[in-house]
Amino acid sequence: MIDYRGLVVILVGAVFVNNYVLQRFLGICPFLGVSKQLSSATGMSLAVIFVMMLSTAVTWPIQTYLLERFGIGYLQTIVFILVIAALVQLVEIALKKYVPALYRALGIYLPLITTNCAVLGVTISNIDAGYGFLQSIINALGSGLGFFLAMVLFSGVRSRMEEADPPEAFAGLPLTLTAAAIVSLAFFGFTGVIENLFG
């Protein structure tokens, strides 16, 4: 019996209410660095969604059937980050060889994702929240989509900012961060809506 309502709540919640970038501050580095153009923002986000879901699919069984069963839960951090790093390498090699078109679109962002705290964050979150396998995958999908949403929205904001004329000290990163503050504020509005999605 799959609790579809619960899954939708997890998905929508991860995108809007607990948005990884704008509320939980995960994945800030790529957010600030790669969101300048829509094309790179899209490419990075798709790669992130893919790696998040793949990592979850591998780390969740490892945690449940290996780490917890043998009482070596303290190896979680090491094992998870190694799995993510290895997966990213494998995906890169596989894409390059078998789907060169996709590699050209996503490939350059893949190595950056290993140090992206959002990916490690999602895999650990799934365990902390006590999600089952399906719920974890949905959570990973939602978190990635939330990342995507934040990136796309922000690339639009930044392209407008190109024409702005701020005080010298504020130029560049400070201005970007202030814009991020405002976008984050906008997301607050979603909180009440989503909580009552199903009455």
């Binding site: 209410v17 006590g130 909580e195 009552n196």
Partner: protein, 177 residues
């Protein structure tokens, strides 16, 4: 040929060695810290059980067959002040760990949220005194308990968890524990 072999073997050997040394160091640290962590956790659990049931002196964990699967542990106060149950509520953002005490009169003494992942400012209000305080003194019918407006999922999850606690309570009485 030899050069090539060395190029592949050395990295793997070094990597494996580092893995082993780090794992060993962690296992060692774990053996030192785990007892401390477990002891502190047990002490905290005792303090929390006393917080929901101040009349009790000490608790002993009991096995109760037929408890709902969401009730993870059952404790009985040694001086007969009642039972305390650990229950998991399936909330909005994940699991809510709740602890609830039921006195000999079949009424709730108090309940508390140990941990949750509910939305800050909305579902998280279930952990606050204003909401959970409603449960004190209620019997199994939970008459008069009101959900938090605009936080229905979290409230309903909490209520269900408390109902599960009553089910466990009945199971404990029946089993004569």
């Amino acid at each position: 040929m030899n050069g090539n072999r060395r190029d592949i073997v050395k990295p793997i050997v070094v990597l494996t060695l580092i893995c082993l040394v780090v794992s060993a160091a962690l296992a060692f640290t774990n053996s030192l810290t785990k007892p401390v962590i477990d002891e502190a956790a047990a002490k905290r659990s005792d303090e929390i059980r006393l917080a929901v049931m101040p009349e009790a002196d000490a608790f002993e964990q009991i096995e109760v067959p037929g408890m709902p699967e969401t009730v993870s542990a059952a404790y009985r106060a040694k001086n007969g002040a009642g039972y305390v149950f650990n229950v998991v509520g399936r909330g909005y953002g994940g699991d809510m760990q709740i602890i609830c005490g039921i006195g000999p009169d079949g009424r709730i003494t108090a309940c508390m949220t140990l941990s949750h992942s509910e939305t800050e400012g909305v579902g998280s209000k279930t952990a606050e005194e204003e909401y959970r305080g409603q449960y004190a003194g209620k019997d199994a019918s939970l008459e008069g308990v009101e959900a938090i407006s605009r936080a229905t999922v979290s409230s309903e999850a909490y209520e269900k968890a408390i109902r599960d606690v009553f089910e466990a309570y009945e199971a404990a009485k029946e089993a004569g524990r």
